[in-house]
Each structure stands twice: as structure tokens, then as C-alpha cells.
Amino acid sequence: MSRFFAGSDTDSDSSSEEEQIQRPQVPVYTFSDDEEEVKRVVRSAKEKRYEELTNIIKQIRNYKKIKDMSSMLNSFEELQKAYLKAAPVVLKEENGQTPRFFIRCLVELEDFINEMWEDRDGRKNLSKNNSKSLGSMRQKLRKYLKDFEDDVAKFRENPEQPDDEEEEERPEAEPDSDSELPSKSQFTKAPAKQQVVEDKDESSDSDDWPSDTDSSSESSDDDEGKYTSMRERFLKRPGGATHEDYEEKERRKEERRKERKDKDRRKMPKDEEEDGEGEWETVQRGVAIPSEKPKMFAKDAEIDLSLVIKKLSEIMAARGKKRTDRREQIELLHELQNVSDQHQLGPAIYVKIKLAIISAIFDYNPKVSDAMKPEYWLKLLERMSECLDLLLSNPQLLVSDTVTEETENLEEAPYRIRGCVLTSVERLDDEFIKLLKECDPHSNEYVERLKDEAKVSNIIDKTMKYLERSNVSSELCRIYLRKIEHLYYKFDPKVLQQKAGDASVPKDAVTSVQEMEKLCKFIYAKDSTDRLRTRAILSHIYHHALHDNWFQARDLVLMSHLQETIQHSDPSTQILYNRMMAHLGLCAFRHANIKDAHNCLVDLMMTGKPKELLAQGLLPQRQHERSKEQEKIEKQRQMPFHMHINLELLECVYLVSAMLIEIPYMAAHEFDARRRMISKTFYQQLRSSERQSLVGPPESMREHVVAAAKAMRNGNWSACNNFIINEKMNAKVWDLFYQADQVRAMLTKLIKEESLRTYLFTYSHVYDSISMATLAEMFELDKAVVHSTISKMIINEELMASLDDPTQTVVMHRSEPSRLQSLALQLADKVNNFVDSNERILETKQGNFFLRGANQVRVGFVPGNFRGDRQNYRGSTNQNWDRQRRDRNRDKDNY
């Protein structure tokens, strides 16, 4: 407890103080702390480390005795860490000599493990956990021992040699309790350490004297020693801070140390003896959380390409590791970038580092589902476009994932770099969409983000240009699809102007439709994966539909046969299909193809959840319809807000087209018992309004359409038109169309025509003949239109009438069943049903009687057969049956 407290204390106070004292601009490495501490409280630190070590070693011995392998493994790992911490002390105090007791422990451990390993029977008896630990322990130990090969060999040469402190401790470790142990070791340690310190002081400065005292006091009173040392430290601090020369010395020393460290690092690969230490350094840097700017190279180091590459790969090696600080990585890479810029190491390394930065920024977010932070996003955008600019300006550069690490060439002209720009761009695009989805779509933030869309498009354009250079078709397809996905939902007014022959747009201007055409055709021709082509087709259709190219869009849909296969594709493609269908429906509506519009939209609207189908929002959860994961997945699929299709517009178009189809149909088949519904949703709306006892003036879009439908049923076209087209509906729906006035004119015309049809259906039985002129006047239509409409009805046998040309009248034929007749027919149907069910009752009775105990199948089979028979003979026997009944009645009466 106290030990732990002391340790943490030293760390914190030393680091905080250092920052105040030192020049702030000098970047300082974190592990300066340890050394600092060593200087001031040499004994206590060393003691602390060593004590830690000995404690762990003792634990290991205990475990060895009880053969608890898993605990031993833990302790061993602790030991490694502890030694790591102690390493600087060791380096300083023992001149890099590994302490003997530590080596002894390792050797013993190795022997023990080997013994255990050899003992096969014993190994079998071990629990699963233990045997697993044994295996991993053995491997780890082996690896670890490699670092100490020399020491171990030395130790093995003469293991009996009494080493400094360990010697006395060892024999006592087993019988004695813990309390005695530290005192002795400390006692023996003290003189040795003093010596070491004196050695050191010769080389550096001797400001350690004051601290020396507490080590002696510690050794005299064993248990309280630590507390006194702590107190000493507290006491000492003000004193230490006042010594100005002391600070200066410190500074100087630090500089020297840093230099040495840099030298070490450069020596690192060659120098085997220092290898272990070098390794620790890098790890430690990764682990630590630095608040200062990281330092790359030594000041006087000669920076050349290989050095930078080495450094880069060193940084990149830490990538993806659990304890790597990702933010620091990004900063390190930026720093490296600056360094390489200063020394002008060529474009290849520049690109290489840029790519590394980009991937590091991507790595920054640990979760794939979350969006990245805006500041990183901006950084990412900048880096990406910088990188692409450079790539574009340098035709010599080749970045590809086919380049292996061996064939990489960063030095001279035909540069080859391993990496993939395309993947990064795709990832960037995904991140962009994620980022948009994260924002509230009605906030300014969203608008701000959306402004980046241009940048993203720009980046994609650049990537396209770059990839066109290498001309790999699969990659080109991918980037083209990205481009398409940024293009397809955007409305380009120029297209329509060009189509209309507007003078402001030149004939040869490239509009988005043409661009789309070009990209899609490339994909159709070159793509080998089905998915890209499907998506390209869908986007292409969408784009056509958006720009009123109804025939092209329709033909593409029909040619692609996507309707049949779309349910086998992935959800996002299905969503795209739904979006395409929605827009195709809108396009058909604008072109007055009401039936097509209805057919396009009916699948979307019938389910009642177009919002989900278009991925424009989740329905509220209803009794655990989906689990958390499902919801997360669905959220990921959502469309960003700026790509949404207006649902009210969609529904209105659907309902209006349903009205235009359904109302004449209803009028035509008023007495048809088996009338089918064309649009269920529309029917529901009608029903619910009929159920209301008091219908107020329409408020919502739906109510307007329902009111219009009711007016149309009576053939009242002007009321219908007023309900569909008024200020409220304009604001809500119609103004959303690009050429709203055309749509409105089209609607009025259609309403007139369909109202005429409805009128004729509903009231034809009242008339013997109607003059077409009157009809034309009533519906404010051209005579020709009336003529053609009525002719069509006559040809389709919807209206039993003929046209009398000289008088311009429609002469009705009374061939339809009258109201009474159709009612009688309906009644006959109903009675038939009733007879059916009645006979079924009878059959069950008979079946029970005849087939008692028979199995279900026969019971089910026999009546079915019987019923089939009955339908044939019923017509003839019906009357007889009636007569029989009457006779029966009479019999009863007589009786």
C-alpha cells in the first residue's frame, strides 16, 4: 500500500514540477521522469523497484511449490513489467548489468518449466487451465530469456557465486515470513548502492547528497523507512526547487541524456546488446500519453529517405494495437510529414506519409458505426485532396495495392508506392455519409457538413482522373459508381431547359444526364460484379426519372428485369430500388401515365410504411419487433436527409392516381358483388371518412384527396378540382414539382376526363340519350375529347351505348341489368353461400354418422367431393327441393 502510494507520488510530482522548471518549448520525453526521480531519490526508487522484483520472485517461488501455473504466468508477466520499470534504474545503477537475483529467478524458472514440460504424466494430470498456462509460460519465458542470453550463460557458469544481495535472501526465503525479508535485503543493498551512486557522481554531478541520508535512515529502521523517505521527499522539495544551479545541471543532463538516447536508437538495429533496451523504449512511447509534441529525430541527425521510411514503418507498426494512442499517431505522422517536407525527400515519401495519415485518421474512430469527429473529418478532407493533387501532378507516381513492399520504390522516378487510393476515397465517402446522418438534419450543422459535399465530389473527380490514368476497369467501375452515387439524386435544371430548347443552355452543354449516361455505360460494359451494375442501372433510372425522361427510364426498368431479382440483392440495393420506383412513379405521374404511377407506387404504399422502405427513418418500436442489433443495422442503412424523397408528395401522388383510377371503376361496378379493390390504402381512407358522422372541411392532404374523391363520385369535376388544386395543396405538394404548373394543368384535364367517365357510369341509366355538346359544356372539355372518351368507353364495353353522329348524341342501350336485377343476382349469390354452409352442417352430421372413427383425411375428403357434385345438379333440383319443402309444410298443416 505504502509502496504503491510512494510510487505514484513520485511520478506525479516529478512530472508536474519538471514542466514548470524546464523550458517549455523543448519537447521532453516522458521517461525522463524516471531518471529525474533516480537523481533525487536514488535509493528509494531503486529499492522500490528491487523490492517489487523480489516480491514477485518470491511469489513465483511459492507458486512453483504448489504448481499453480496460471498464477505463475500472471506473476511472470508482472515480473516482466516490473523489470521494465526497473530497467532505467538498472541501467544507471548497475551499468546495464542485469541484477543477479533476477537472472537467478529466471534460470530457476526455466529449469522448473522444462522439468514440468518433460514430466508428461504430471502434465496430463494438470487442470486444463494450468496446462494451457504452462504452454504459454514456456514460450514466453523462452522468448524473454533470449534478451538475457549472456547473463544467463554467465550465471550458469557459476550459479553458486554469492551475488550481492540475493545470496543471503535466498536460503531464508523459504522458512521465513515476509516481515524479515525486506529489512535484510535493504540492509545489504545499501552499501552497494552507495557505491554506485558515488560512481555516478563522478561522471555527472553530485547533487544527490541530501537524498543519500534517507537511504541510510531507511536501512536503520526497516518498516518506517519508507514513510520517512516519503516524508523526506516532501520536505526536500522546496529545498530542491530553490537550488538554481541544480536546475541548470538537470537541464544539461537531460540534453545529454536525450542525445544518448537518440544515438541508442540509431544504433538499435545493429547493436544487439542494446537491443532489449531499444525495444522497451518504443513500447513505452506508445503506451504513454504524452501531452507534449512528440520528437522525431535528434537535432543533429542527418535525415534521409531511409531514416524517414524507417521511422514511418516504426510508427505504422504500432497501428491497430490495443494500447496505441491513436491521436498521438496522427500527430507523429504529421510531424514526420513536416520533417520530410523540410528535407525535400521527394513526392513518393510525401504520398506515402499522406496515405499513412489518412489511414491513421480512419483508425482514430474505434467503432465503425460511429461518425468521426468534425475536426478530423476536415483534416481528412484536406489530406486527401492534397494527396490526390500530388498524385495528379506527378505522372511518375504509381500507388497501387499490387505493389508489394519489396517492389516499392520511393527513391527515383518511376515511383511505386504500396497503397490504395480508391479504398481510402470510398471509405471517405462512407464516412461523409455517416457524418451527415449523425447531424440533426434541420440544424445549421447539417448545412455546414453538406457544404463538404462539393469537396467530396471534387475528391472523387480527382480520383477518377487519377484512376483513368492507370485504367484498371474494375477500379474504374468502383469509382464511377461512387461518382454516380453522388450524382444520381441531384436535379439538374439544365437538362429540362435543354430539352425544351431553351436558349440559355447551349445545345452541346454536357448535362448531368449525359454524364450519367457515360458513366453508367462504362459500368454496364466493364463491370464484372453484378452488384455494381445493378446499382448503376438503378441510379441511372432514378436520374432519368428525376429529369422527366419517362420513356428511357421505363425502358431501362423493363429491360433490366430487376423486378424479378431485386429481392435477392442486399438491403441497400433494395432501398435504392425502392427509391428508384418512387421516382419512377412520380415521373409517370408528371407524364400523366396515371396507371403506371399507381403501379409503381402501390408496392411502396400498400404496406403503410414507405418511410422504412425508403430508409428515411425508423418506425417507432412496436413490442420488440426488432432487437438492438437489428435497429443499429437499420440505422446504418438510413439515407442522409438531403437525399430523402418527400413522403407526403409521394403519398399524395399515389392517392390522387388511385382516385383517378378507382372512382370511375367503382362507379362502373357498383353492383358487382365480386368487385375487387384496386388500391387498398385509398379504400381505407375513403372508408374512414365515411365512418365519420360529421365530415368537416378538409385539412390534411389525405382529407383533401378523400373529399375530392367524393366530389368526383358525383361527377362534380370542379369541386374535385378545387379540392385537389388549391393553395393548401399547392404549398403542401404540388409546388414541390419542378414544373408545377404543367402538373396542375395535367391534373385538371385528367380530373375532367375521369369525372366525365364517372358521371356516365353513374347516371347513364337515367338518360336515354345525352348530347355530347352538353357534356362538353358540363365538363368544360373539348368536344373531341368527350367524343374520344365516350368512344373508348363504348369500345371497352364499359358503356352500353352508341354514338349518333348527325345529332351528336350518345344513345343509351338498356342492356345492363337493372338495379333490381343486380340486387336479385346478389341475393342469389348470398343464398348460394348460405346453402353451402348449411349443407356443410348436414355433411358433418352425416360424416359423423357414417364415418365414425374414420381418420380425418377421409372426413375431409368426402364432403369436398360431395360438394363438387352438388354444384352440378343444383340447378335442376332446386325447384324440386322447394316443392318438397312446401309439401312438407302442407303435411304438417294437415296433421
Binding site: V831, S837, T844
Partner: protein
């Protein structure tokens, strides 16, 4: 006039105390007045009490009074009736309660409440009848009065309060013999008759033709629609019963299987000299399904019956009217151009 002819068809053979109903013109007029008032103002059915006396096998209805509207909460109906009868007695009117009357539209009178109240009437006053006045048909020129009594079987059925198919079968009750129709005669005093004939002669020839209304379609349509609804309802009932039958048969099978299994088990146990398993839990295991009551379908069937009777009657009368019209037309033409 027309109503008098309608009632002569089926005379019940059973030992009914009443052979026919004879109503006074005054009572008839009062009923007609009340019913028309009710139906024209608020489309309600009008109800009232009939007063009169039994003479031999003839029930004479000499007077009547309307029941107060059901909505009036403050008034006690029974007290009102008693008070009414007391007062009528004071003015020397027959005060014997012999039944009640109700208005109806085209024979849709048959219903559960009617059945229930007639049951109560007939159990307390042996001779009581229910008189149905058809407002709609009368307004078309057919004065329609019908008197009905519950058959003894129906009374028996209602007493037992059980409407399972078996019970109905046992009692031999069907929709045909829920009610018996009692002939309904209207008897006027000779003085009234004299005045009637005088009045008849005063009616101009043209006026008489207005009863020859030829608009048959709408009436028939209405009738057909009602009939269709009823048939639908009956169909629902049939389906319900069918479902019940299926349930029962399935349960029966399960039961058989269970019993068989239990018997085998018991045989095995007997072979091993063990006590057999008890068998009384069979009813707990297979709780009998509730039998759908048949009263409602029976009433619906009765309604359909009256509807179809009404339709066929209407049709024959309309046909007759057509012939009359033709004759009239011919006569007119003959008059116009001799």
C-alpha cells in the same frame, strides 16, 4: 277491406281458445293513427295495449291506448297502464287487457323482444294476442293488420330457456311454428258501414286510380336489401354452427382416443394386479363446448320467411294492379274515342 281478406288462410288446428280476432273500427283507427304518427315523426316503433273481451272463441278488441315512450324515465309504465284502464272503465269502456299492438315496416317485426313480451303476456293472460300493423304497406294502400299468438311449443321452449338444437328438436319448434297467425276481422256497426258506402260513392273515379301505384322497383329493392342482410346473418349463424360441429367432432375423437388409451392402460394394470386408474376426470379433460343458441337463427329464419312472403304477396298484388291498370287504360281509351 284488404286486410280482412288476408287473414283467412291458415286456421290453427290446436286447441286454441281463440279462433279469430274481431276488432272494432274505433280501435283500428286509433292504432293506425298512433302508428303513423310514430313512424312519420321519428321512425320509431309504436306500441300500445289492446282492450276488449273474450266471447266464445272470439277475441273482441273494442278499444286501445298507446304506451308512453320508453325514453320517459319518470313514469312507471305499469302504473300508467293500470291508471289508464281504471279511467277507461269509468267511461264505460272495456278494460280487459287482451294483448298489445306494435307497428312494423314490411314484416320486420319478428324479434327477440317481441317474442319475450308476447311470452309474458300469454303466460299471464291466456288469450292475449299481439297485433302487428304494417305502416309502410298500409301507406301504399294495403291495410295490413295481423294478429299473432305464440304456439304452445314456443311457450314451452321459452319456459325452459334452453335453445340447444336438441331441445328445439324435442319440442318440434321451428321458425314456422313459433307464432300462429290468428285471423283478424274488422267489424263495424251497420251505421258506420252505411256511411262508408256513401263515402265510397262520393269518391270521384279519378281519385280511386291513385292507389294503382306502379312504382314497384323501389319497394322490391328495399325488400331485397333487407332480405340480403338477413341471409347474410343467417349464413354467419350457419358458419358458427358449422365451426361448433367441427370442434365437437374433433373433441369427440380426442375423447375416444383418450378412452382407448386409458382402457389399454387399465388392462395392462389389471394384468399386473394393480388398481385401475379412475375415469371420472374425463369431463374435466374434455369440457363440452358451449352449444351456440339456436334462437337467434330461428328468429332470423322467421324474418326471412316473412320477408319472402311479403315479397311474393307484393309481387302478386302488383301483377294484379298491372292488370287493373291495363283494364282501366283500355276503358279510358274506349271512352275517349268511341
Amino acid at each position: 277491406m284488404a286486410g280482412r281478406a288476408a287473414a283467412q288462410r291458415r286456421v290453427p288446428e290446436n286447441e286454441s281458445t281463440i279462433a279469430y280476432v274481431q276488432a272494432d273500427g274505433l280501435a283500428v283507427m286509433k292504432i293506425v293513427k298512433h302508428c303513423h304518427e310514430e313512424s312519420t315523426t321519428n321512425m320509431d316503433i309504436a306500441q300500445g295495449a289492446l282492450l276488449g273481451l273474450v266471447v266464445d272463441n272470439r277475441l273482441e278488441i273494442t278499444n286501445c291506448f298507446p304506451f308512453p315512450k320508453q325514453t320517459d324515465e319518470t313514469m312507471d309504465e305499469d302504473e300508467y297502464q293500470l291508471a289508464m284502464m281504471r279511467r277507461l272503465r269509468r267511461v264505460n269502456v272495456d278494460h280487459f287487457h287482451v294483448g298489445w299492438y306494435q307497428s312494423a315496416d314490411v314484416g320486420n317485426f319478428l324479434s327477440l323482444p317481441l317474442l319475450e313480451s308476447q311470452f309474458h303476456y300469454q303466460t299471464s293472460i291466456e288469450e292475449s294476442v299481439v297485433v302487428i300493423y304494417d305502416t309502410q304497406k298500409s301507406s301504399r294502400g294495403f291495410l295490413t293488420f295481423k294478429a299473432y299468438r305464440l304456439t304452445p311449443q314456443a311457450i314451452e321452449m321459452y319456459k325452459e330457456g334452453e335453445f340447444t338444437p336438441e331441445a328445439l328438436l324435442k319440442l318440434k319448434v321451428g321458425y314456422e311454428n313459433l307464432f300462429t297467425e290468428v285471423p283478424f276481422l274488422i267489424k263495424n256497426s251497420p251505421l258506420t258501414n252505411i256511411m262508408m258506402s256513401e263515402l265510397a260513392e262520393m269518391v270521384p273515379e279519378e281519385e280511386g286510380a291513385k292507389f294503382l301505384d306502379l312504382g314497384t322497383a323501389s319497394v322490391l329493392e328495399g325488400q331485397l336489401r333487407c332480405m340480403m342482410d338477413r341471409v347474410d346473418e343467417l349464413n354467419q349463424e350457419a358458419i358458427k354452427f358449422n365451426r361448433y360441429q367441427q370442434l365437437v367432432s374433433r373433441q369427440q375423437q380426442d375423447k375416444q382416443r383418450y378412452l382407448l388409451k386409458r382402457a389399454q392402460e387399465n388392462a395392462a394394470r389389471a394384468a399386473k394386479d394393480e388398481p385401475p386408474l379412475p375415469e371420472e376426470d374425463i369431463n374435466k379433460l374434455f369440457r363440452p363446448h358451449p352449444v351456440p343458441p339456436r334462437l337467434n337463427p330461428m328468429i332470423i329464419a322467421g324474418q326471412i320467411n316473412t320477408h319472402s312472403q311479403a315479397i311474393s304477396q307484393f309481387c302478386s298484388q302488383s301483377l294484379a294492379k298491372l292488370y287493373i291498370t291495363q283494364a282501366l287504360q283500355n276503358a279510358k281509351e274506349a271512352n275517349a274515342n268511341p
